[in-house]
């Protein structure tokens, strides 16, 4: 049984395609700063990596599993602080500190998640928010360790790894890009695995999944921990880049932004949240340059997208492609009674089909 389960022709096909996309994506990311060598672009993209991982990992909960967490940034911050503190201790190298920070965040998420995932819907959302506020206040009040309000100061040292000098901005960028793409690939694999489809069952109908022998609590806990670990990588990239860590990383607004990114980008398409990250970041960037009423403009754009389109941008593209494919199929195959891609009802905002 096990052997036949592991037999891999679809695995190979699916994974091969995803790896190809990942390699192409990485090549693009590495080429961009060569084509446009302004440091501002590199900085912009590193922020994109960090917040992109936050939004993508949050979507594993929101879009894939139907768990709307309001406190995901807690793990972003935990990763950043753990990494920063370990590096400042001077005892470990960057990869060891990174692994320990991710592992430590996963442990924290395991403990918090074990409590949260037993609660349903809005109660789950609130308790994740509560734990985030708890972590935020620990950071703010434990001044001797974290620097409190001021953030983790004194810089984060970047000793060379395997001859790579991360103090060189280009090397730092390249390393972050590789880590980012690897994490996206890992999330993609999880979403396309039997586990990923089990999560879709739970999103759609947890009671039924339970009656089909799915241990719903254990599965939710599994994805909660994995999503937290991926978010911590985002925090770690940001800490490494800004050479510090700040309490805002753990503030509720950071979680809120991640939710905006998902809503702007959409959750039907796997990479949708990245489109949202890009959009929100671009808006943030330009709007702050050109106007002081930055919140007003942002809020308006979000309102227009959410109320006007009622789905994210990537979803719009996806639906359009699906509709076109359906029209083509209908044109070439005039047999009625196949199905129409019925417009998903209002619940689609939260429970859309994640591809």
């Amino acid at each position: 049984m096990r052997v036949s389960l592991m037999r891999v022709s679809p695995l190979r096909a699916g994974l091969a395609r995803d790896v190809a996309v990942a390699v192409a994506g990485l090549a693009l990311l590495l080429a961009l700063p060569m084509l446009f060598p302004q440091p501002a672009l590199r900085d912009f993209l590193i922020y994109f990596f960090a917040y992109g991982l936050l939004a993508m990992s949050l979507n594993l909960l929101v879009g894939l599993t139907g768990l709307v967490s309001f406190g995901h940034a807690a793990y972003f911050a935990t990763g950043a602080y753990a990494f920063g503190l370990l590096m400042q201790s001077g005892l470990v190298s960057i990869p060891v500190a990174a692994l320990a920070a991710v592992g430590g965040t996963a442990l924290v998420a395991l403990v918090i998640g074990a409590i949260c995932v037993r609660l349903k819907e809005i109660y789950f959302s609130f308790i994740t928010l509560a734990f985030q506020m708890f972590i935020h206040s620990v950071i703010v009040t434990w001044v001797s360790l974290t620097g409190g309000d001021q953030g983790l100061r004194g810089g984060i040292p970047r000793p060379p790894i395997l001859g790579l000098d991360l103090n060189d901005a280009r090397v730092l960028y390249g390393t972050c890009a590789v880590v980012f793409v690897l994490c996206i690939l890992a999330m993609r694999q999880v979403a396309q695995s039997p586990f990923g489809y089990t999560l879709r069952m739970i999103r759609d109908n947890p009671a039924r999944a339970n009656f089909l022998g799915v241990d719903v609590t254990a599965m939710k806990l599994g994805i909660f921990v994995f999503a937290a670990a991926m978010a911590s990588v985002g925090g770690l990239i940001l800490a490494l880049f800004v050479s510090g860590a700040y309490p805002e990383f753990a503030f509720w607004t950071t979680s809120g932004e991640a939710i905006f990114m998902i809503m702007l980008g959409g959750m039907k398409v796997f990479l949708g949240p990245l489109a949202g990250t890009l959009l929100l970041q671009t808006l943030n960037h330009y709007v702050t340059i050109y106007t002081e009423h930055h919140g007003l403009v942002l809020g308006t754009v979000i309102l227009v997208i959410v109320l006007g389109l009622r789905r994210g941008l990537a979803d719009v593209l996806y639906d359009w492609l699906q509709a076109r494919r359906a029209r083509r199929a209908a044109a070439s195959d005039p047999v009625p009674g196949s199905f129409e891609p019925a417009p998903l009802a209002d619940g689609a905002l939260i429970k859309g089909r994640t591809v």
Partner: protein, 255 residues
């Protein structure tokens, strides 16, 4: 295979199940009938671990399963389909069945392989074949017709390879012709697989035609039990609700 002894359950003042004792022999096909609110669905909820009885025992394969969670009961080999089909709207028929088989194979936690896993996919194909769902394999569950939704709900239960299958009104909400088609499928399924099947049904023609044994529930208690012929002649049953027209009114209640 399955035996319940002195099963009782009250919800507040409502005594939904009263001292029910029934034996379901291995491989039997049994109908549970009774008017609306008789406690039929509650009876299924009690034996499938969804609701805990106040009193009584449920013996499955010789062991008392009262107190086990519905998850543990499924894993021991008792699966159910619901009065209102309980599906995964955003999954296609094939995806839903495959994911259910994956769960049955205890492979739900695998992250290193890709979905659909070959062995699970083959089993899902078999189930679709058995139920005649193969033309709908790639249709989203949400877009299926009512009848196909009921079929898929049964298919999901079949993915558990159950020893005992509980079907709560498989023909609910169907027209007469569709009902017979549906029940024909259920009957063939029972013949092919040799499972112990319990089904709740309102249509007396259907019940009398295919069930081996019938148990009539009323106000939560067993009013009568026996072969179709015996039930047809039973004066209590006739008085209680068969009346002159022996077809009960059709209902679609909540699961």
């Amino acid at each position: 295979m399955l035996r319940v002894e002195h099963l009782s359950k009250s919800f507040g003042g409502v005594r939904a199940t009263r001292d029910v004792s029934i034996d379901f022999p291995t491989g039997s096909l049994t109908a549970i009938i009774g008017p609306n609110g008789a406690g039929k669905t509650t009876f299924f909820n009690l034996i499938s671990g969804h609701v805990r009885p106040d009193e009584g025992r449920v013996l499955f394969d010789g062991a008392d399963i009262v107190g086990l969670s519905s998850l543990e009961v499924v894993r021991r080999g008792m699966a159910r389909a619901f009065q209102v089909a309980s599906l995964f709207p955003s999954l296609t028929v094939r995806e839903a069945l495959t994911a259910a088989v994956v769960s049955h194979l205890r492979a739900s936690g695998r992250v290193l392989s890709r979905f659909p896993v070959a062995a699970a996919g083959r089993r899902a194909d078999e189930i679709m074949d058995l139920l005649g769902l193969d033309p709908k394999a790639d249709v989203l569950s949400a877009n299926l017709s009512h009848g196909d939704q009921k079929l898929l709900d049964i298919g999901l239960a079949l993915a558990m390879d159950p020893k005992v299958l509980l079907l709560d009104e498989p023909t609910a909400g169907m027209g007469s012709e569709e009902r017979w088609r549906m029940i024909g499928k259920v009957h063939r399924l029972w013949e092919v697989t040799g499972m112990t099947v319990l089904f709740i049904e309102h249509d007396m023609d259907i019940v009398f035609k295919i069930a081996q044994t019938i148990h009539v529930l009323k106000y939560g208690a067993v009013l009568a039990q026996g072969t179709p012929d015996a039930i047809r002649r039973n004066q209590d049953v006739i008085d209680a609700y068969l009346g002159t027209d022996h077809r009960l009114s059709e209902t679609v209640g909540e699961a």
